[in-house]
Symmetry: D2
Subunit: 259 residues, 4 copies
């Protein structure tokens, strides 16, 4: 459908996973099908504005990011781009939790009300198709290979994603230094909010909004950095981000129509 749409329209924003990965060899492994349009794959821009604002502005085909990768990459970006070797890039753990609307609108048994309510579970452990999307983009930001462990969970609520990330600091760094790094990095970003300790983001804080909220903690006992990131999977994780991309592609104010 994307090729057909491109024949009809000037610009396309695709919300599926079809153009999110750069390496076509990853499609059979993670999506279970071979990619037939490597030319378009090469052309497609990964539509996370905080990473690729300029490329999005010039793009004909934008691949709107997955909901989990959005929450994860926004949490990692300042760290990965810091230049210095701040954390061990082969040892990043992502424990993500999503509301049920993340599974889409088609009624299926695992998302039937009586099956979901009052229940919590992990799924596709170490096998979720958002893993290579995170690794590709994180690697691009870091300028070297990044490997992650990614484990998604299902929360009995309609919407919202909270990702908890664990990274190993290479050198002891104070919480305040890292906070300052994040603050500087995201200065001026219209849809990012950083919590100052003891504040922590909660999914309801971004309900219906295009914001991503972040917090970080350093566990001085073992040199771990813990990052917490929340988005509304239906907004910043899907339709809202598509609107943000459209605004950029059309040269409109980036925040138009978004809360």
């Amino acid at each position: 459908r994307v090729p057909e749409l491109l024949a009809l329209c000037e610009k396309v924003i695709d919300l599926s996973g079809d153009f999110r990965l750069t390496d076509p060899a990853l499609y059979p492994l993670w999506y279970g099908y071979g990619h037939k349009r490597e030319d378009l794959l090469k052309e497609a821009v990964y539509g996370l504005p905080e990473l690729n604002r300029q490329e999005v502005a010039a793009a004909r085909l934008v691949a709107n990011p997955g909901c989990y990768p959005t929450s994860v990459l926004l949490a990692l970006k300042p760290l990965l781009m810091a230049g210095a070797n701040l954390v061990d890039l082969g040892d990043i753990i992502i424990d993500a939790k999503s509301g049920v609307s993340g599974a889409g609108r088609s009624p299926k048994l695992p998302f039937h009300y009586p099956e979901c309510s009052e229940n919590f579970k992990a799924y596709r452990v170490a096998a979720h198709q958002h893993t290579p999307e995170i690794e590709e983009q994180a690697g691009r930001l870091a300028g070297e290979k990044v490997t992650v462990n990614f484990t998604p969970h299902l929360v009995p609520m309609v919407r919202g994603i909270l990702s908890t990330l664990y990274a190993k600091l290479k050198e002891p760094l104070a919480e305040e230094e890292l906070l300052e790094l994040y603050r500087e990095h995201y200065r001026g970003e219209p849809f990012l909010r950083l919590h100052t300790p003891p504040g922590l983001p909660e999914t309801r804080f971004v309900w219906g909004s295009n914001f991503c909220e972040l917090a970080l903690r350093v566990d001085r006992r073992n040199g771990r950095l813990i990052l917490i990131s929340v988005i509304d999977n239906l907004i910043k994780g899907a339709a809202g981000q598509a609107v943000q991309n459209m605004n950029i592609m059309q040269g409109w104010p980036e925040t138009e129509g978004l809360l």
Copy 2:
């Protein structure tokens, strides 16, 4: 399937609505199909043990009652059988509320988690197929025609039914007199509990249990009797009641296997 099962087994308890109504003419009106086995319909016993314990004991085919009618008929029975004309039988209002498992296990859009959670609605207003089942059985208990208004609602919870009934007292009666009537009537019933004011039943009180809990109030300002009845729709409203019926049909202790 019931005819086929009866050819194979001695006794059948049917949990569908196929044999709950006595009058075959009601099937086209409320279920949308004509009944093909009026002989079995005549033979079938309505399996609400508190109404028909002896008939169930002798039955070959038991029609396990609907979940709503179970909660409603147990609330009305002492009133309808009181002999005196206690309430206006043409003016009984039933406002019923059910958890989502009442809609069955097949995943459909209205019962998809994101559609149900944080939402409350009425459905099939004045058109639910449990209406004639209630009227037939209530009429049998009263010995005259009973008409009801029946409005079901969907509650964002997995299980439980609460029915609120409103009946017009023909003569002023004190709450305590009515309570005493109910107490006497249900003395010895293994699965009934009557709340004494200010107590009121809640659906969680019967979670996982075969009990029906009742309370009543008289609004002296306008002579209304208000009855409140709760059951677990999956137990007393379905499988538990089937077990109770099986126990009776087999001559086993009626409470066997039930909480």
Copy 3:
């Protein structure tokens, strides 16, 4: 506090129940305290704009209505003002259901998450303090005494009220005639929506909004009119209605700041 505020400000909108009733004698009966400022009680305007728009515009003290009465009175108004004797005014039954935020923000055991979730119950049966508020305003609209049965219930969800009302039609009236009456009556009202059968309102339809949505059904089998009304108890049932009143009192566009 209201008297003190009136000394400080020109106009006050009170969200408590202190000035909602007209008859001071009702306060000891339903609120448990005697009213000390009958002068202000006389002056206060009942702030349901759809009933009292002009009086609100000129008021110094507006009593913002209760959440339940808002949902109920908007459902009844066209009926009560129809002039003809459409329904039996001594026989109106209101079965209301509210989300937990209706109980306020102070943490109390009945509203503790583990006590509310997966539970449904009735409370203050035939004894809720919103009863006289409904009766007074309904009586004023009808021009004669109105008596209601009012039974509130607690729904395991954060926000939303759905009220189901049952009234006895004095003459047989077709659903379509009544719908037309409602359509005409509410033509131009900015915050009312009427559902056309088979449509029915659900609480999520007004989530975060100042709208009241209505539907009606006639049960021809027994001449009952069934009305269904939903509002968001935090918006049209509280703060949103206060904003609507403020807009009217200030001469601003009535819908300003409201969805």
Copy 4:
């Protein structure tokens, strides 16, 4: 109160945290008070039967474990006791999620229904008082110091804990080898169930039960072992485990009164 109870009774099972830690110096750091009865602290047995069955049998004072540590230690035990150096003991990450009843029954704002429902959040990141309890017991099992990162989260559901643990394998080990290790280790344990891939535990599987259910996965891409553990925080995480301990202390069948 424990000292007073010990004066009155032969045996005491304490469900608080007062006697869970071995090292009195940890109390000021994690609980904010100094311990006044180091003699009793020394005497107290940590009441996780799967770790200390014999000591519990002989104990006068049993410290019933915390809910989180129960879920975590049962997941780690076979690994820690394996003798070989299977995982990096300084690099264990625990991402735990609990239902709201884990916060106790006193109504407080963060556990008020409207604050919890449809929300997910982390809390006490790298600062929860169950951290030293896990480290002490894990260290005892391993025979050397164990350091963990422990981050708890609040799930909008009444009961259940799911802990996701991430450990770094020192040598590449196949999933099946580790599964076999767990199977052997827990053979005969009455309250443990191990899921075979692709099975994964969900909190509802242990609702109301004293069971702990486990699953494990190896992420071959980066040599991480992922463990998933579920319990009902009110049963195996509290009262049920106390009953299990009582059964052992009294010489009764260990499973008596438990599901």
